[in-house]
């Protein structure tokens, strides 16, 4: 405490120090600190009018505000902008400094990079049949993603339960995917390869949340994490491509062809290792993207609105809407999934306390356009079903579009009510996180149940 004989109590300095302590907690924004400081000063004034001295008033007023740590914790739950981590994990335990974390990240990244070469080195890849072609696409997600999960099991100190969850699901999926007796180039094999990463990504999310998917704020955090992870990964990939291209070129000048080395070692190992690195970067440097990523969604959302609207109008005017060809249907579904991703991130990066604005109307427009397109896709699928009967691809497409229909209707409804001031933004967030397990459950169905249902064709 700053006390000197001339100036027994400097309340301004004392308040400034108190405020500084507040601002160290990243759960509190500057506005929050302003608000609490106003409260403190108001209380101090009242106490001083009652005859207390400045230092007594400060002590009592700050005491009445409560323990700053528990207040900050409460703030973190409300703000839910990923800041809880800094509270929960703000005290590094012995040996758990950033050096140690960096070491863990490097080891895991190298392990992921090795994992993708292991089957080759151990001669696990079958020769001379179609499996040789499909082995890697089918297992791709299983090489890298479990190591990202491992990073969070360690980082969040989940202990045995976390390890069991991660290794259990990974093992089960690996066994299922590799022991199913798929027929040559089976559709169900490709479908399971596409849906497998979704299941694994959710397992990462459960680890990421640090409390096994228990609280709303952490679920939203994970969605934000996913968006930022994607951006970081693309940036790393871009850098990696440029670097390898330059290296290959340089070696070419001196007469050495390292193209094979790149294709066989550098590319796959780099792609896997970068997964762990990207996850670490989002964690370590999150404040960098926190300001950039929402800008990206604000740039892309209007563009997607225009694309979807144009598509919709073209279909309706030309009357092509109801006779979608197979390829168009696939393209449309990919587009809808991308839109859903954009929507997920857009909702999660929005400050829930802001009143409805222009961007929210735009989001609503995006949702509505996607909803209509989804309906058109469903009509087309129904027609194909009645014409050709059920196949694995059609069943998967039907399920996906039905879930999209359900999910997008919910978004449209909640956005509409939010825009009309009938409910807060948190209802929309609730809907968003409630739908995540539905997507994952469907992905799991496609990975595990669809192949046997369609006898592995």
């Amino acid at each position: 405490m700053v006390t000197s004989p001339d100036n027994p109590f400097d309340s301004d300095a004392q308040i400034a120090a108190w405020r500084q302590y507040l601002e160290q907690h990243r759960a509190l924004t500057e506005a929050d600190a302003d608000e609490l400081e106003d409260h403190l000063c108001a209380e101090m004034e009242r106490l001083q009018q009652g005859g207390l001295s400045a230092d007594e008033a400060f002590l009592i007023a700050s005491k009445r505000l409560g323990k700053l740590d528990s207040v900050a914790r409460e703030y973190a739950e409300v703000h839910s902008r990923r800041l809880w981590q800094h509270l929960v994990y703000s005290q590094p335990e012995k040996g758990y400094g950033w050096r140690w974390e960096l070491l863990v990240v490097l080891v895991l990244a190298i392990a992921a990079a090795m994992a993708i070469k292991l089957p080759d080195l151990m001669a696990w890849v079958p020769y001379d049949d179609f499996y040789a072609d499909l082995f890697y696409p089918q297992n791709l997600a299983l090489f890298g993603l479990p190591f990202v999960g491992a990073y969070f099991v360690i980082k969040r100190q989940l202990g045995l339960r976390g390890w069991l969850l991660l290794s259990g699901t990974t093992l089960m999926l690996t066994l299922a995917v590799n022991t199913y007796p798929f027929v040559d180039y089976a559709d169900t094999l490709m479908l399971s390869a596409i849906h497998l990463p979704i299941v694994l990504w959710f397992v990462i999310g459960v680890c990421y949340s640090g409390n096994f998917w228990q609280s709303q704020s952490r679920r939203m955090d994970f969605i934000r994490f996913s968006g930022e992870f994607a951006i970081y990964y693309l940036l790393i990939a871009l850098g990696g491509v440029v670097l390898t291209a330059v290296t290959v070129g340089l070696f070419g000048f001196i007469g050495l062809d390292i193209g094979d080395l790149v294709a066989v070692w550098i590319l796959p190992c780099g792609a896997m290792g970068a997964l762990v690195i990207a996850a670490y970067l989002v964690e370590a440097k999150q404040s960098l993207l926190e300001s950039m990523a929402p800008v990206l969604t604000r740039v892309f959302t209007p563009m997607f609105v225009i694309v979807l609207m144009t598509l919709l109008l073209t279909m309706l005017i030309t009357g092509q809407g109801f006779a979608l060809e197979r390829e168009v249907l696939i393209g449309l579904d990919i587009l809808l999934v991308v839109v859903l991703g954009l929507l997920l991130y857009g909702v999660s990066s929005r400050d829930p306390q802001q009143p409805p604005g222009l961007f929210d109307s735009l989001q609503w427009l995006l949702v509505s356009a996607a909803l209509l397109l989804d309906l058109l896709a469903l009509v087309a699928i129904a027609e194909r079903l009645s014409e050709f009967g059920f196949s694995a691809n059609r069943a998967a497409a039907l399920g996906e579009n039905l879930i999209l229909l359900f999910s997008l209707s919910g978004y449209a409804w909640h956005y509409w009510r939010f825009l009309r001031g009938k409910q807060g933004f948190s209802a929309l967030e609730q809907w968003q996180t409630a739908m995540i397990p539905v997507y994952v459950a469907w992905a799991l169905v496609v990975v595990l149940l669809l192949p046997p249902l369609f006898s592995f064709t």
């Binding site: 506005a31 929050d32 302003d34 608000e35 609490l36 400081e37 106003d38 409260h39 000063c41 108001a42 209380e43 004034e45 009445r64 505000l65 409560g66 323990k67 700053l68 528990s70 207040v71 409460e74 703030y75 739950e77 409300v78 703000h79 829930p352 306390q353 009143p355 939010f418 001031g421 009938k422 409910q423 807060g424 933004f425 948190s426 209802a427």
Partner: protein
């Protein structure tokens, strides 16, 4: 009196909404009014009021704006939205139902003291 944690959590929302029904106000004033109205018996940890206010704001029940107070400090004022008024009416009905029921139960037991020992709760 110390309220249980659950009751505190359940009652704080209608208290805040009820006070703001009279017109917009700021955190310190809300805390003081709750203290006065309860005769000093309800004592919140003041710091916890603000996360609650922010949560209600997120749910769309309150809207906030910053003003400059007479003291020259920035001060955040909260007011009820339409949704907030609606929610307040709902909560009023619920709490009235509870208090009515409880007071009937307790009045009855006063009138027939001793009847409690029979197997009323079976």
């Amino acid at each position: 009196m110390n309220l249980s944690k659950d009751l505190m959590a359940a009652s704080s929302t209608p208290l805040v909404l009820g006070i703001l029904a009279d017109g917009e106000s700021y955190g310190y004033d809300i805390a003081k009014r709750v203290e006065q109205l309860s005769g000093g018996a309800l004592n919140w940890t003041d710091g916890m009021l603000y996360p609650l206010l922010h949560r209600l704001e997120q749910q769309g029940l309150l809207e906030a704006r910053w003003r400059v107070a007479d003291s020259g400090r920035k001060r955040k004022y909260y007011g009820l939205t339409e949704l907030g008024q609606c929610s307040l009416r709902h909560q009023q009905q619920q709490w009235q139902l509870i208090t009515r029921t409880l007071s009937r139960i307790w009045n009855d037991t006063h009138q027939q003291t001793g009847a409690l020992s029979d197997g009323h709760f079976a």
